[in-house]
C-alpha cells in the first residue's frame, strides 16, 4: 500500500506537470510572436504608413490608430447599451421585456462574429455605398453588447436582495436604489466586465473585413474605410512579400501587448478589489 504522503506528493507533481503542459502553447505563442515581431518594431513602425512594395521602411501606425479609434467608437455605442441591458436583466428579471431581452442577448452572443460583420455590411455598408469606420464600429459594438450585458448582469446579481431592500426601507425610490446603491456599489466589477469586452473586440478580425475594410492611409474620416491591426495583420500575412510578413508579426506583437496588457490590468484591479473587500 502506498503511503498517504506519497500519494499526496504524486498528485502535486501531476498538477505541476499538467500546468507545465497548459503553459506550453501560451509560452510558445508568446515566444514566436516576440521573436518574430520584435525585429519589425521601430519608431517608424508606429509613426508611419506603409510604403510601396519593394521600398524599405514604412510602418503600420495607421492601423494602430485605426484600432484605437474603432475600439473607442464601438465602446461609445456598446458600453451604455450593454450596461443598460445588464441592469434591466438583473433588476427587473421577471418583466416581459427582460425575458425577451434575455433570449435576444443569448442568441446574439452565440452569433459568429463573421455573421455580425455581414449584418453590418447589409444594413450600413450597402445603403451608404461604401466601407466605413462607422460600419466597423457598429459591428464591433454588436459583438460587445451581449458580452457586457451578460457579465454586468452577473456582477449586479451578486448584490444581495437585502441590500436593495435596505435602500427601499430608507425611503429611496427604486431607481435611486438601483443606480446609487446597486450599480454604484458594483462599479469596480462593472469596469472589469467592460474592459474584458474591450480586450475581446480589440482582436476581432471577422466583423471588420466587410465593414471597416482596411486602408493604407492615415484616418480619412468616419465615413471612409479605416485600417485596423487585426485586418492589417491578416492582409500582410497572406501577402507574398517577406517585408510584409515581418510587419504582420510586428502588428501581432503590438496587438498581443495591447490585449494581454488590458487583461492583466483588469486582473490586477480585480484582485485588488477582492482584497479590500474581505
Amino acid at each position: 500500500m502506498i503511503s498517504r504522503d506519497l500519494k499526496s506528493r504524486l498528485m502535486v507533481a501531476l498538477c505541476y506537470a499538467l500546468l507545465a503542459l497548459a503553459l506550453v502553447p501560451l509560452l510558445s505563442i508568446l515566444y514566436t510572436v516576440i521573436s518574430k515581431g520584435l525585429p519589425a518594431l521601430s519608431l517608424d513602425f508606429f509613426l508611419k504608413t506603409p510604403v510601396p512594395v519593394g521600398e524599405a521602411g514604412g510602418g503600420i501606425g495607421h492601423a494602430i490608430l485605426g484600432t484605437l479609434l474603432l475600439i473607442l467608437m464601438a465602446s461609445a455605442i456598446g458600453v451604455p447599451l450593454g450596461l443598460a441591458m445588464g441592469i434591466l436583466l438583473s433588476e427587473y428579471p421577471k418583466r416581459k421585456t427582460a425575458r425577451a431581452l434575455r433570449t435576444v442577448v443569448e442568441v446574439l452572443s452565440s452569433v459568429p462574429s463573421i455573421v455580425v460583420g455581414l449584418f453590418a455590411y447589409a444594413v450600413i455598408v450597402k445603403p451608404m455605398k461604401g466601407f466605413s469606420a462607422h460600419a466597423g464600429a457598429v459591428a464591433l459594438a454588436i459583438v460587445m453588447v451581449p458580452m457586457i450585458a451578460r457579465s454586468s448582469e452577473e456582477m449586479l446579481k451578486l448584490v444581495p436582495t437585502s441590500v436593495r431592500e435596505a435602500g427601499l426601507a430608507l425611503g429611496l425610490p427604486r431607481w435611486k436604489v438601483i443606480l446609487k446603491i446597486v450599480v454604484g456599489g458594483s462599479i469596480g466589477s462593472l469596469i472589469v466586465s467592460v474592459l474584458l469586452a474591450v480586450a475581446r473586440i480589440a482582436g476581432e478580425t471577422a466583423p471588420l473585413l466587410f465593414t471597416a475594410f482596411g486602408s493604407q492611409r492615415w484616418f480619412q474620416g468616419l465615413n471612409q474605410p479605416i485600417a485596423s491591426l487585426p485586418v492589417t495583420i491578416y492582409n500582410y500575412a497572406i501577402s507574398p512579400y517577406e517585408d510584409w510578413h515581418e510587419k504582420a508579426w510586428g502588428g501581432a506583437l503590438v496587438l498581443i501587448v495591447l490585449v494581454v496588457g488590458l487583461n492583466l490590468f483588469v486582473r490586477m484591479m480585480w484582485t485588488k478589489r477582492r482584497s479590500t473587500r474581505s
Binding site: 421577471k94 431592500e165 426601507a169 446609487k180 456599489g185 458594483s186 479590500t276
Partner: protein, 254 residues
C-alpha cells in the same frame, strides 16, 4: 408604556400570488413601546413586519389587504406614497447589509445624501448623532473612511441601525436583528434597544424567547398567519392565556 397608539393594523392580510400568509391581523403598538413578535418559522412574523413599511409589496406577485395606520394616517391609502412613508419607518434586517463599496460614513449618510442633502457639516452632524445613538461612534470614529463591510458582524449590524436612524424615523422595525450575531454583540444590540425606546417605537421579530422577555413591553405570539395571543410581555411569558402560547414558549413545539 404609553397609552397612545402610534401604529394600528386592522384586518391586515398579506398574499404572495394566491397564497394568504396573514389572515387579518389586528394589532396596536403604543408610542415609545417595544413590541416583540414571536412564533415558529413561517408563521408570518416577518411578513407582518414588512407590511408595516410596505416592503412586502416589493416582492414579486405580492399584495396586501386591510389597513395600517401610522400617526393617524392610513399607509395603504391610494394616495399614500410608499417611498415617503418609509422615511417614517426604519428597518433593520436579519443579516447585516451595509451598502457595498460605501465607507462607514457614506453608509450612515446614505439615507439623507440620496435625498439630496449636500451640506457637509449637516451630514457630519447627522452621521455622528446616528453613530452615537447606535453606540458605535467610539469604535469607528477614526475609521469613517473604511468600507462599511470591513467592520465586524456586530459592528455592521449597529452600522445598519445607525443608517436607519439617520432619517429620524419615529418607528424602527427589526427583523431578527441578532440572529446572525454572537452573544456579546447581541447584548450590545439589546442594550441599544433599551436606549432607543426612550425616543422611538420599536417592533422586533425574534426567535429568542429570552430576548423577547428582556427587551419588550408587549409580546405578540404568531401562529399560522394569526395572532394567537397579544399582551404585556410578563403576562404572556408567565401566565399565557392560550395553551398554544404556553407550549411554544416552554419549547414543546415550534
Amino acid at each position: 408604556m404609553n397609552s397612545k397608539n402610534l401604529l394600528v393594523t386592522k384586518g391586515l392580510k398579506a398574499f404572495v400570488a394566491d397564497f394568504e400568509i396573514l389572515h387579518g391581523i389586528d394589532l396596536a403598538v403604543g408610542e415609545r413601546e417595544v413590541v416583540a413578535l414571536i412564533g415558529p418559522s413561517g408563521c408570518g412574523k416577518s411578513t407582518f413586519l414588512r407590511c408595516l413599511n410596505r416592503l412586502h409589496e416589493e416582492t414579486e406577485g405580492a399584495h396586501v389587504e386591510g389597513s395600517v395606520v401610522l400617526e393617524g394616517i392610513e399607509l395603504y391609502d391610494r394616495k399614500s406614497d410608499p417611498v415617503a412613508l418609509r422615511r417614517r419607518i426604519g428597518m433593520v434586517f436579519q443579516k447585516p447589509n451595509p451598502f457595498p463599496s460605501m465607507s462607514v460614513f457614506d453608509n450612515v449618510a446614505a439615507g439623507i445624501v440620496l435625498q439630496g442633502v449636500k451640506n457637509k457639516s449637516v451630514l457630519q452632524e447627522a452621521v455622528e448623532r446616528s453613530l452615537r445613538q447606535a453606540a458605535l461612534w467610539d469604535e469607528v470614529k477614526d475609521y469613517l473612511d473604511r468600507p462599511g463591510t470591513s467592520l465586524s458582524g456586530g459592528q455592521q449590524q449597529r452600522l445598519c441601525i445607525a443608517r436607519a436612524l439617520t432619517v429620524k424615523p419615529p418607528v424602527l422595525l427589526m427583523d431578527e436583528p441578532t440572529s446572525a450575531l454572537d452573544p456579546i454583540s447581541t447584548a450590545k444590540i439589546e442594550e441599544l434597544v433599551a436606549h432607543l425606546k426612550e425616543q422611538m417605537t420599536i417592533v422586533v421579530v425574534t426567535h429568542n424567547m429570552q430576548q423577547a422577555s428582556r427587551i419588550s413591553d408587549r409580546t405578540a405570539f404568531f401562529l399560522y398567519g394569526n395572532v394567537v395571543e397579544y399582551g404585556a410581555t410578563r403576562e404572556v411569558f408567565t401566565t399565557p392565556k392560550n395553551r398554544k402560547t404556553e407550549e411554544y414558549i416552554t419549547g414543546r413545539f415550534g
